[in-house]
């Protein structure tokens, strides 16, 4: 298939996606829309975590921290000033947050930029660590962010959280950001920069003696990853319309990690697939928590059984499907054409020549 055709197909796919989003926005109820929105936000989160963990090989557990930064920045920027005065009851909000106001898109961008800036500051010392040690350090960072948010009520309203955030996030925003994230990160990993990141993942010492600067590439990858996590945090805040520090506990990072591992490290298609699978199953598995019968055996209602199911699924994937649920296959038009030809060998042979 020619490059030109691939571009046309991509544009067509985007138009179809746009129509689907339009139909969903107008026809689905709030419950289903919420699941779709969350899925799209998880795509952004998952793909960005995959950049630092799956492609660069740096085990980062700091995503909840970057999300929190993004969520609070967006919140403070989109809330109307008079409303801020009303809800900050523990301690009054300090200047300049009282008067700051920005359009949603600017708020999202600033959320991402601040997250990226923090990532650079944290990354410079922390990315010298490797493997589990890096994981623990970044996890520590995320917890620090959460605890700080808990303890500066003059900015975050402390443990009370912020309520009544304008519900700006809709499918146009969440899906749009997800598509943008995929576009940027896919472009990144298919470039010479991405090759350097994968070289670091494969063998740090080899990469270094070839001339790949470890610090630069690791920190850049970390910062770009944090940028999208911050933007996703902003979308998240404006979707739930209420945030508090508890929303950004380790469980949040763990959920994203499940998505990335289920989808396959270093697989963007897998991450997208897993993000939707995760959020939909999380809802559709609700009945099992209510208790059910298997023949004569009565299973009582156990809250949290859904997560047990996921843990079991995760174990199976880690043990038997090292490349994730998609088997490490990356979507491409070429691959799709090959797949279609394999299923319909006769019918598609003529169309194959067109492509």
């Amino acid at each position: 298939m020619k490059k030109q055709n691939e571009k046309i197909f991509t544009i067509l796919a985007l138009i179809v996606l746009g129509i689907l989003v339009y139909l969903a926005e107008n026809n689905l109820d709030a419950y289903k829309l919420r699941i779709l929105n969350l899925s799209a936000i998880y795509v952004t989160l998952g793909v960005s975590l995959n950049l630092i963990y799956g492609f660069t090989g740096q085990f980062s557990l700091g995503h909840a921290g970057f999300m929190a930064i993004g969520a609070y920045v967006t919140t403070l920027l989109v809330l109307p000033p008079y409303y801020k005065e009303m809800i900050f009851i523990l301690e009054p909000l300090v200047w300049p947050f009282t008067v700051m106001k920005a359009p949603f898109i600017v708020a999202l961008l600033l959320s991402g930029l601040l997250s990226a800036l923090v990532a650079i500051l944290i990354g410079l010392p922390v990315l010298r660590l490797r493997g589990d040690y890096l994981g623990i350090a970044t996890l520590g960072f995320a917890e620090i962010v959460r605890i700080i948010a808990n303890n500066i009520p003059q900015v975050t309203n402390g443990a009370l959280g912020v309520k009544g955030i304008p519900e700006f996030s809709n499918l146009w925003w969440t899906v749009g950001v997800a598509v943008f994230t995929i576009y940027i990160i896919k472009g990144l990993i298919n470039s010479s920069f991405g090759r350097a990141l994968m070289a670091i993942r494969e063998n740090e010492i080899a990469a270094e003696v070839i001339g790949v600067s470890l610090t630069y590439h690791k920190v850049m990858s970390f910062a770009i990853s944090a940028f999208f996590a911050g933007v996703a945090g902003g979308l998240f805040a404006c979707l739930l319309t209420t945030i508090d520090p508890k929303a950004f506990m380790f469980v949040m990072t763990f959920n994203i990690l499940i998505v990335v591992v289920l989808g396959g490290l270093g697989s963007i298609t897998g991450t997208v697939f897993a993000a939707f699978l995760f959020n939909f199953s999380l809802e559709y598995l609700r009945p099992i928590e209510a208790g059910f019968n298997i023949g004569p055996i009565v299973i009582p209602s156990i809250p949290g059984l859904r997560m047990v199911t996921f843990s079991a699924l995760l174990l199976i994937v880690i043990l038997y499907m090292k490349n994730g649920l998609m088997g490490g296959i990356e979507f491409s038009w070429k691959g799709l054409a090959r797949f279609i030809r394999k299923i319909f060998p006769n019918k598609k042979s003529s169309e194959g020549s067109v492509m």
Partner: protein
């Protein structure tokens, strides 16, 4: 008359790990175009010397100069940029990447495009990628690995992996090439090919080569100057004939009694 400058000058360097002195007072000057060998029993400190030259370790005492520039304590990627490339005793390929990617990454330090043009695939970036792709293919053709270009590097046979690692080092455009036991694990036929291969690349790429090797046939066959180390100390230096008859060397390799036997 051209003034001969030393390419590499290790000026009495010492490397200590806590209380252990891995290398002490190592002295070496290499002139452009030389092919120098370094031998010694296991644990003599040979690879430590390579690690100091390539910046993975920083010598505890004294300095290393490359083209009269002090490179002590500089990061490995900067040293690669200065013109020193190496291979490893235990091959370090990017195993899950393709053969061609392994070579293309070698050109990394010569890339000029920035991050934004790489993401958005600007024409200057695309042109640069095409140019390093063709250069990589050319390199692979030289070592007859071109047919494996889309294979994963880790799936190549052992001997080919060694060659690929050398090709990757060549892609960085080095002036000095360090080879750490290039013949390790090769059969006699492969070893023979390797010897001519090393001499060939030295001529073709105008290289200076410094190699560690256990296979005496290789060292004695292609190196005109050889250093022998034992327990971190240089015990002999000279041409192959001198080394073969040096009592210190025989003692290090065969034990004390061998001399009197």
């Amino acid at each position: 008359m051209e003034i001969l400058m030393e390419l590499l000058n290790a000026d009495n360097i010492t490397m200590k790990f806590g209380g252990l002195t891995a290398v002490s007072n190592f002295k070496l000057k290499i002139s452009p175009g030389e092919l120098v060998g370094l031998i010694g029993p296991n644990g003599a400190g040979k690879t430590t010397i390579f690690n100091m030259i390539t910046g993975i370790y920083t010598p505890t005492i004294n300095k290393i100069y490359f083209q009269d520039r002090d490179i002590t304590g500089i990061k490995p990627d900067k040293i690669a940029k200065a013109g020193i490339a190496r291979t490893f005793q235990n091959i370090r390929l990017l195993e899950n990447l393709t053969v061609i990617d392994n070579v293309m990454i070698g050109f990394h330090l010569h890339l000029k495009s920035n991050l934004a043009s790489a993401i958005l695939k600007f024409p200057n970036y695309v042109r640069e990628e095409e140019s390093i792709y063709h250069k990589s293919i050319e390199l692979l053709e030289k070592v007859e690995l071109e047919k494996f270009k889309q294979e994963k590097a880790g799936s190549l046979p052992y001997g080919q992996q060694r060659k690929l690692e050398i090709v990757r080092a060549l892609a960085t455009g080095p002036k000095l090439l360090l080879l750490d036991e290039p013949a390790a694990g090769m059969n006699p036929q492969e070893t023979k090919e390797l010897m001519s291969f090393i001499q060939k690349i030295q001529n073709d790429f105008d290289l200076t080569i410094f190699l560690i090797e256990h296979d005496m046939k290789v060292v004695m066959g292609i190196c005109r100057r050889i250093l022998v180390m034992d327990y971190g100390v240089t015990i002999a230096e000279g041409n192959p004939a001198e080394i073969q008859n040096n009592p210190e060397v025989i003692k290090a390799y065969l034990g004390v009694d061998a001399i009197y036997a």
